[in-house]
Symmetry: C2
Subunit: 209 residues, 2 copies
DNA sequence: GCAAATTTTGACCGATTGGACAAACGTTAG
DNA sequence: CTAACGTTTGTCCAATCGGTCAAAATTTGC
C-alpha cells in the first residue's frame, strides 16, 4: 500500500519526534476531538504553521501515533509462548502488562480513548491483526487447559480480564489514586496491584481449605 | 449548597428528560469536548436555542447527567452487605456490575470518558463520597478475611479488579466484539463473561489438584 | 561564499463552535 | 376574550477551529 518511507532530513526526524511526543501528551489527556493543533504545537514548542509543515493534517499525527503504539502495545501478548511453564508464562504476561500501565500510561489512555469512541480509525486492525493474534494465543492457552496445566475456562475472556485489570491502573489512574488516598496511593500502588493480581489469577478468592 | 429544586412546568420536566437522554447518547459516544450542542439538540429533536432554553450551558447538561449517573453507578457497591455469605455477596456484586455494563453501557462510557480526561468535574466526589464508600466496604471485606471466609488479599485492589473486568465489557465493547468475532461476539458474550468471571474470582486459574 | 533547498513565521481564510437575543408563537387562567 | 406567562425560532455574534500561503529566515551542498 504505502510507498517506501520518504527520505527525511535530520531536522525533520527530530522535529517529527518532538511533535509526536507532544501529541501523545495532548491526545491522551483530551482525546482526538478534544485536542487542538495549537495545544500540540505549544507543547512541542513551535508555531502551528510550523507543525503543519511536518504533519499536514491533524489526523496524520494521530495516525502515526496509533501505528507506533500498536506494535509496542501488542508485544507482550506476542511473547506469550507455548514453551515454558504455562502458569509462569501467564504470570509474567500479567506482570509485563502492569509494567506497561505504569511506564506508558499515556499510550494506554490514547488507546482507551480510541476504543471508547468506537475505534473509528483502527477498526480494521481490531478485526484483523488483533483478532488473529488473540485467536492464536487463545489456542495456545486451550492447549494448556487440555494438558491439565491450568484450569479450564474461556481463554478469550481470560485475556480480556488481564487487559482490563492491568490497563485499569493507567486509564483510571486518577480514580485509583483518589480512592487509595495519599498514603496507599503513592508509588507503591503498582506493587500492591501486582501482588493482588497474581493471587487473583492464580488462586482466586476461595479461602484455603 | 444548592437551593430548593426550582419548580418546573410539565413541559419543562418532559423536555429536560428528553435532552438528558439525547445528551447521554452523544456525550458517551464523543466525550464532552467532542460533542456539540447542535448534535444533542438534533438527537433530542429540537433546535439549539430551544435546548439552551432548558439548559443554559453545555456544561449544565453534562453536570446534571453526571450527578444522576453517580447515584445509580454506586448503588451496587452500596448494597454489598455484611450480613449474608461473603462469597455469595461478592458473586452477586460481580453479576450486578456486569449486568450494568450490559444494560447501561452509555453510562459506563460517560463515566470512563470523565475519568480518562482526569475527572476534572468529579474529582471532589472521587476523593470524598467514593473514597468513603470504598473504604467502608473494604473494611467489610477485611472482616470476612479475618473470619476466614475468603482468602486474604487487598480489598481495595479487589474492588478495582471487579470494576475493571466488568466495565471492560461496556467501555471496550467494540474491541471485545471485534476480537470475539461475529459468532462468539453475539448476545451470549455476557453470559460467557459472567461464567468466566465467577470462576476467576472464586477459584483462579490453578488446575484442580 | 553562495545559490539552492529547507525551515519558520505572520497574516489570513472559511467553517464550526457555544451562546445571546428579541420577536413570534402557544398556552392557560380569569 | 385577553393579558400574562411559557415556549420556540431565526438571526446574529465573537471565539476558536483546522488549514493555507507567500514571504522571510535558516541550513545545506558545493
Amino acid at each position: 500500500m504505502e510507498g517506501s518511507a520518504p527520505r527525511r532530513t535530520r531536522i525533520q526526524q527530530e522535529k517529527r519526534e518532538l511533535i509526536l511526543e507532544a501529541a501523545l501528551e495532548v491526545f491522551s489527556a483530551n482525546g482526538f476531538r478534544g485536542s487542538t493543533i495549537d495545544q500540540i504545537a505549544e507543547a512541542a514548542g513551535m508555531s502551528k504553521p510550523n507543525l503543519l509543515y511536518y504533519f499536514r493534517r491533524k489526523e496524520d499525527i494521530h495516525e502515526t501515533l496509533m501505528q507506533r503504539l500498536l506494535d509496542t502495545w501488542l508485544a507482550p501478548l506476542k511473547e506469550l509462548d507455548d514453551i515454558g511453564d504455562p502458569m509462569t508464562e501467564l504470570r509474567s504476561y500479567i506482570r509485563r502488562k502492569l509494567e506497561m500501565a505504569r511506564d506508558f500510561p499515556r499510550e494506554s489512555r490514547l488507546f482507551a480513548n480510541e476504543i471508547l469512541q468506537g475505534a473509528p480509525r483502527i477498526m480494521p486492525m481490531l478485526e484483523g491483526e488483533l483478532k488473529t493474534l488473540v485467536d492464536e494465543k487463545a489456542a495456545v492457552i486451550k492447549g494448556w487447559m487440555r494438558a491439565g496445566k491450568i484450569a479450564r475456562t474461556d481463554p478469550w475472556h481470560l485475556i480480556f480480564a488481564i487487559w482490563a485489570t492491568t490497563q485499569h491502573y493507567a486509564d483510571f489512574d486518577v480514580q485509583v489514586r483518589a480512592v487509595l488516598g495519599p498514603d496507599r496511593g503513592g508509588d507503591g500502588r503498582f506493587e500492591d496491584a501486582a501482588r493482588f493480581l497474581e493471587q487473583l489469577f492464580l488462586d482466586g478468592l476461595k479461602p484455603k481449605a
